[in-house]
């Protein structure tokens, strides 16, 4: 899979996207959580910075605007920190508990749940681009402009279809293509088997493929 969503993201994206060695990532996270627990406010900021690209990737599909995305990201962090605080205060022993807290998985789960309840009828990715089309038509009749317009409209249609997928299919699809999470991590966050996650992804892609319709000519190349 080509990683076209990777450009322009902060440098920590590799860790957040799950491509780094899991050992290294969790050690960092556990160390930061341990520091946060003993009152290190720097560690809190670092934890946010570490996971910020992941959280943004998870919530932006459901956001009506960049500010809405920020709001969703903030709520995701708050709930995940609250869960961690509770789990650790229940767990007692500070050192061991910090390592046991699956903070990143909670972030994913919280983001998925927030997205589930978030208004999805009018995101910035499913808005009809009439304004844009009018502007483009006025601006130029240059070669490629029509194709771009067509793609834009098809994108809006397909993103709407993606949000209308059955819940599990939509969750797996977006965790996979928005956050590039491995299927094992998707399964852990959603509480299903890795195979079930793959099946959900296949079903989602088949549905969306049907929504696309028959390809005309060499369009797909």
């Amino acid at each position: 899979m080509t990683d076209e969503t990777g450009e322009g993201r902060p440098r920590l994206r590799l860790v957040a996207g799950g491509r780094a060695g899991p050992g290294a990532a969790t050690r960092d996270e556990a160390a930061l959580l341990g520091a946060w627990l003993v009152g290190d406010d720097e560690a809190f900021g670092e934890l946010v910075a570490l996971h910020q690209p992941l959280v943004l990737a998870l919530v932006r599909r459901y956001a009506a605007s960049p500010d809405d995305a920020r709001d969703l990201a903030q709520r995701t962090f708050l709930r995940a920190f609250e869960s961690a605080r509770r789990a650790i205060s229940r767990g007692g022993a500070v050192g061991g508990a910090a390592a046991a807290v699956p903070f990143r998985r909670w972030l994913v789960r919280v983001a998925v749940n927030l997205a589930k309840n978030h208004r999805r009828d009018e995101t910035r990715w499913t808005r009809s681009s009439e304004g844009l089309s009018a502007l483009d038509t006025l601006r130029s009749k240059a070669a490629g402009a029509d194709q771009r317009l067509e793609d834009e409209e098809a994108s809006v249609r397909m993103r709407r279809a993606a949000l209308r997928l059955p819940r599990r299919q939509r969750e797996v699809l977006t965790l996979r293509i928005d956050a590039d999470l491995p299927f094992a991590e998707i399964a852990a966050a959603l509480g299903c088997t890795e195979n079930a996650a793959k099946v959900s992804f296949h079903l989602a892609v088949k549905r969306l493929r049907a929504e696309l319709g028959q390809p005309q000519g060499e369009e797909g190349a």
């Binding site: 993201r9 900021g45 946010v48 920020r70 903030q74 708050l78």
Partner: protein, 201 residues
């Protein structure tokens, strides 16, 4: 899907970015020979590329700047809300102590030095608050008559018995009165009412 049936899983795995080396080799060999599956692979690629979001733009990146600070601020605000009951109780205790400290001297000083109009108002309030007296001060003449009536035993016993029972009934219907108080009043009523009954006769 218009692809060959046994190749479909490979195409979907490829779309998911989850195709192992062995599967990739088999798929490539098939795609080289099958135009329909080539078209289907391209359609799947296009499907996912249309659904995918563009990378975060400048506005999104800017909206996230300082996220750690605002999450921290929201966290602190939540912590303050959690501490609210304890703080409220402590604040209430302090406020009560302060109020007692401020108000107590005012009471001790004010009591003996009521101005005439304050005293009048207090009396008016007391009069309004106090229930109307249940019986008037007995007239000495009536007392004398009653005493005379009581002298003859048969008249007194005849008159007192029914009257006392009605007095108790009326007293118990007066809600705020305690029961023992009611019986005491009933006894007194009976004593005074004997006079009216004797008079009525």
């Amino acid at each position: 899907m218009t692809a060959c049936h046994d190749v479909e899983p490979l195409l979907l795995d490829r779309a998911a970015g989850d195709l192992d080396a062995d599967g990739a080799a088999r798929l490539d060999a098939h795609l080289a020979a099958c135009a329909a599956c080539r078209a289907e692979a391209a359609a799947l690629d296009r499907t996912l590329s249309l659904v995918r979001l563009p990378p975060p733009d400048a506005a999104e990146q800017a909206a996230l700047s300082g996220l750690a600070d605002s999450v921290r601020a929201a966290r602190d605000a939540a912590a303050r809300r959690r501490a609210w009951p304890v703080r409220f109780a402590a604040g209430l205790a302090v406020a009560a102590a302060a109020a007692a400290f401020l108000v107590a001297p005012a009471y001790t000083r004010r009591a003996p030095t009521l101005t005439p109009e304050e005293a009048a108002r207090a009396r008016a309030q007391a009069a309004a608050a106090a229930p109307a007296p249940r019986w008037a001060v007995p007239d000495p003449d009536e007392l004398w008559d009653t005493a005379g009536a009581l002298l003859s035993d048969e008249v007194a016993s005849e008159a007192a018995a029914p009257v006392a029972s009605t007095a108790v009934a009326s007293a118990t219907s007066a809600a705020p009165l305690a029961r023992e108080k009611a019986t005491a009043i009933a006894a007194a009523d009976a004593w005074f009412d004997t006079d009216t009954t004797t008079k009525a006769r």
